[in-house]
């Protein structure tokens, strides 16, 4: 099946099977391996990408359902050599340890802050509650989201 997806701002055409997962299309065909496989059943959030600005789980979605839509992955976030304020905030706050969950968290953070530029702590935790991190206990991740909210207003 022929589909067209705007990937990180660029229109791209793909020929996919009806059962191809968006996650596999992103990782195997687009070679954008920042989007991770963690569980395959929508529990861990490591595969979070944005679909027209909304956070979605790429392991729970068929590639054909992204036809005609825009998909943003972590690779599209930085502007050339300059990190996006969310990416910078994750580094500044020590929110990155092994880094495997980080792309998913960053994309969830982007979706949150685009909708709610001033989230309180409870709102941050609520929004990120679909993402698992086994390293950080979420402390520095929550701080990073707060820090990113400030940076994005600058």
């Amino acid at each position: 099946m022929k589909i067209t997806i705007n990937v990180n701002g660029k229109q791209q055409r793909f020929d996919v099977e009806p059962n191809t997962l968006l996650l596999n299309l992103i990782r195997d065909e687009m070679s954008l391996t920042g989007t991770k496989y963690g569980c395959g059943i929508g529990e861990c959030g490591a595969c979070t990408v944005l679909l027209d600005g909304d956070a979605v789980l790429a392991c729970m979605m068929l590639a054909v359902d992204a036809d005609g839509h825009r998909v943003d992955t972590v690779e599209g976030l930085s502007d050339g050599n300059k990190l996006h304020p969310i990416q910078q905030a994750y580094l500044d706050e020590g929110a990155v340890q092994c880094g495997f969950c980080t792309p998913g968290f960053i994309m969830s953070t982007k979706a949150l802050l685009d909708k709610n530029p001033n989230p309180n702590e409870a709102e941050i935790r609520e929004y990120l509650n679909g993402n698992i991190c086994r390293c950080t206990g979420y402390v520095n991740i929550v701080k990073a989201v707060q820090c990113a909210a400030v940076k994005m207003k600058e």
Partner: protein, 783 residues
């Protein structure tokens, strides 16, 4: 020694060098790698917990165009996947593909095809004839007389051993006159404790990519905590010359001990690559990974005695270890458990009996703390109970009996001991107690009503490395290469893996501090087994202490060479020269103090050395730490128990840690945050239960049915305080010790003590699940 405040780089928060790759998605974990012409592999795994494989039918799979690999096609040798211990402590009972699988999920055969989908169809086309055999899911059942023996023969240093009654190994120890000591006790507490089995749930499932090389060798990228041990094992199994096996450092999507051993899939993938002569990749699904590794299950029968005045006297521990179906490091763990048991508190006499038993479950391996979280849970809760019995405050009881500076520290058991040279125990306890107003906490049993609050405390520690004054049965040394580049920067090349805690960032800071270089001038180079010297493994909280120790040793050698070259250039006395960082010029500078113009940058030295043919300034060496200093932790945790549902809420946490000099402040605090989350999860959430009929996991391998904390389950930022006390470890690089495991070890005990404070009920089995708590409340208080 230089005061901490004088350090230029050590102790400062900096942006981690691998950070940009990690936040932009460009970091390549093993599962992200691919090669042209690569085949995808899938595994056929045992459907039964104990069976004999009579035949694997491959014809249908081959008709689909897939390659197959059966038990007959792999080297018929027994191996142990973990190479941290010496041969006399390494029990070999694994086979690359099992002829007699011992757990549901044990690999029996493999296929490889052009796509993952084709490989999956091919693996589904394989058929196996099995003969089912009796299986055991409980260590007590498994070691009963008359039980079917799971392993016929295992190997220990070339000798065949027959593990009768499914006893894998044993270790007994005794120190002091215990008979006399028990008579001195006024109060004795005797209890039996049972731990849960926890899955690491590292976010990246295990993965491997193998490329057969034209010279007959192989290149390997795999999820591992030790590239050199991976190479050693592949050499041992396949007999390839070591120069033809290159194992590349590949970032870890966390591990927590689950890749200390060479992963089960690695030799299988190598065998397939050697057969097909094509690159092959094998990434476990989550459902496979969850059946691949788990923490050890333990039963403790423990007895602890003290005098009326609160002096601990004597203890006995009888430990049963359910290791699952294969040994990874059970024998070493029996020794460590003895160490964990006697290292927190002074016992003038102690006895220890331990046994590790085979069952038909997933093979157990180290999980952050290597048994210490389990043992410390028992120690810290029985300490509370004994304090209560004596009538002394549990915190005062600990202050009276803790093992501190100048005392012998058992560390990792009988062969890894050293004298404690730095201890912040008292400060952790006193400062924490003040913050939480410890002495005014609720009295156990005083509360009624639906919601009840409890405050508990617990201590913990872990060895920083497995170093010791004498060799013992554990290998622990590191190596480093440092060379000066022509622009005045240095390349640092190490085999040591960073789990993500910032270990290599700390090494870079140690090197920068020693050489007086801007941190940006230390390049951390990713390398492989052929271009690094040996490092045993990143485990045992040894990354900064041992690996950083090696980096410091080699930096000092480079520094002396720099000094010699500078002296020639400056026409100065080498020993009189000083070093400083010049941040404006972004260079390290060597100068003769007080004499104008007599200075030279590292760049100038390297430039000059090249043009005058003096050569490259470089050094390579290994380093063995002479000690295994404990890093100490203490937690104070407040919970609310809902007596209607049994649910426990984590209200607030105060955590103190003595890790010597803090090298990466934010990342070190991050270790404590993560330790708390894992410990909380261990205390109240996690367990891997088996279906006694099928031998499979009750959660069926689904993460949906294996819960760990999400962001909402953790306390608010203002309710989680972490502090570090000021100590300096004389044997550590710039005074540093480890933190990774001590951050987790006390948590479950602290949570149990907090719940006891809320409910006046003690629990002896983990996890403290809603069901277990509710049942206990109903038993105590009625409906």
């Amino acid at each position: 020694m230089t005061r901490k405040s004088d350090y230029v780089t050590v102790g400062k928060d900096t942006q981690r060098k691998d950070g940009v790759a990690k936040v932009t998605g460009s970091e390549k974990f093993a599962s992200d790698l691919s090669l042209p012409g690569m085949l995808h592999m899938r595994l056929l795994k045992s459907s039964f917990p104990h069976a004999k494989v009579l035949k694997v039918h491959t014809r249908e799979a081959e008709k689909l165009g897939a390659y197959t690999l059966t038990p007959e096609e792999v080297p018929d040798i027994k191996y142990c996947p973990r190479l941290v211990s010496t041969p006399e402590a390494t029990y070999k009972d694994w086979r690359i593909l099992a002829k007699k699988p011992l757990y549901v999920g044990e690999p029996i055969a493999a296929v490889a095809a052009d796509t993952e989908e084709e490989a999956q169809l091919a693996v589904e086309a394989l058929k196996v004839d099995y003969e089912q055999l009796p299986a055991y899911f409980d260590a007590e059942e498994s070691r009963k007389p008359g039980a079917t023996q799971l392993h016929d023969a295992i190997e220990l240093k070339g000798t065949i051993i027959n593990p009768e009654r499914n006893i894998a190994c044993t270790l007994d120890l005794q120190e002091g006159d215990t008979d006399a000591a028990w008579k001195e006790c006024d109060e004795v507490v005797e209890r039996t404790y049972r731990t849960n089995r926890r899955y690491h749930l590292q976010l990246e499932t295990k993965s491997v990519l193998v490329k057969p090389e034209i010279d007959g060798g192989i290149s390997v990228w795999s999820t591992t905590q030790s590239i050199h041990n991976t190479r050693l094992l592949l050499h041992e199994i396949f007999g390839l010359p070591m120069g033809k096996i290159r194992v590349y450092k590949t970032p870890l999507g966390s591990s927590f001990g689950s890749s200390i051993q060479v992963n089960t899939i690695v030799p299988i993938a190598v065998a397939m690559a050697l057969k097909t002569r094509k690159p092959v990749k094998l990434t476990m699904t989550r459902e496979e990974d969850i059946r691949d590794h788990v923490s050890y299950n333990m039963i403790f029968k423990v007895k602890l005695g003290a005098k009326k005045d609160g002096t601990l006297v004597v203890g006995h521990l009888d430990a049963v270890l359910d290791l699952g179906s294969h040994q990874i490091q059970a024998y070493a763990l029996l020794g460590c458990m003895a160490g964990w048991w006697v290292s927190l508190y002074r016992l003038k006499a102690k006895s220890y009996k331990s046994v590790a038993v085979y069952t038909n479950k997933t093979p157990s391996c180290a999980f952050r703390g290597y048994g210490n979280p389990q043992v410390s849970w028992m120690v810290e809760t029985i300490m509370d109970e004994l304090a209560e019995k004596i009538g002394i405050d549990p915190l005062d009881f600990r202050l009276k009996n803790y093992i501190g500076e100048g005392e012998i520290f058992w560390g990792q058991g009988p062969t890894v001991k050293s004298v404690i040279r730095s201890s912040g125990v008292e400060e952790i306890l006193k400062r924490g107690a003040k913050i939480v107003d410890w002495y005014n906490r609720p009295r156990a049993g005083n509360q009624t009503g639906r919601y009840r609050k409890g405050l508990g405390m617990g201590r913990g520690f872990h060895t920083s490395s497995a170093g010791a004054p004498v060799p013992g049965t554990v290998v622990d040394f590191s190596g480093a290469i440092i060379k000066l580049n022509e622009d005045g920067t240095v390349d640092y090349i190490t085999a040591l893996m960073d789990h993500g805690g910032g270990t290599l960032e700390a090494h870079a800071k140690i090197i920068a501090e020693e050489l007086c270089l801007p941190l940006d001038n230390v390049n951390v180079i990713s390398a492989d087994t052929s271009t690094t010297v040996y490092d045993v493994c990143t485990h045992a909280s040894r990354g900064i202490y041992s690996g950083g120790g090696a980096a410091l040793k080699v930096a000092k050698q480079v520094k002396e060479k720099l000094r010699t070259f500078a002296a020639r250039m400056l026409d100065a006395e080498a020993s009189a020269l000083s070093f400083r960082v010049d941040n404006d010029r972004k260079q390290g500078v060597i100068y003769a103090e007080g004499i104008k113009g007599r200075e030279v940058t590292f760049k100038e030295i390297a430039y000059n050395a090249r043009h005058k043919n003096w050569g490259t300034i470089a050094a390579v060496d290994s380093y063995r730490q002479p000690a295994c200093p404990p890093h100490f932790t203490g937690y104070f945790i407040e919970v609310t128990v809902d007596t209607w549902t049994g649910k426990v809420k984590l209200d607030s946490v105060v955590a103190g840690a003595d890790i010597g000099t803090v090298i990466n402040p934010k990342l070190a605090a991050g270790q404590v945050h993560g330790g708390l989350a894992q410990g909380w999860s261990m205390a109240v959430m996690e367990d891997m239960s088996y279906d006694a009929k099928t031998g499979d996991l009750i959660n069926n391998g689904n993460l949906t049915d294996y819960k760990i904390p999400y962001p909402r389950d953790m306390p608010d930022l203002e309710d989680f305080e972490v502090f570090f006390v000021e100590t300096v470890e004389p044997t550590g690089p710039f005074g540093a010790k480890g933190i990774g495991e001590g951050a987790l070890n006390p948590v479950a005990g602290t949570v149990a003590n907090a719940i006891q404070n809320a409910l006046d009920i003690r629990f002896y089995e983990l996890p403290l699940s809603k069901e277990r708590i509710l049942r206990a409340i109903m038993e105590k208080e009625g409906q």
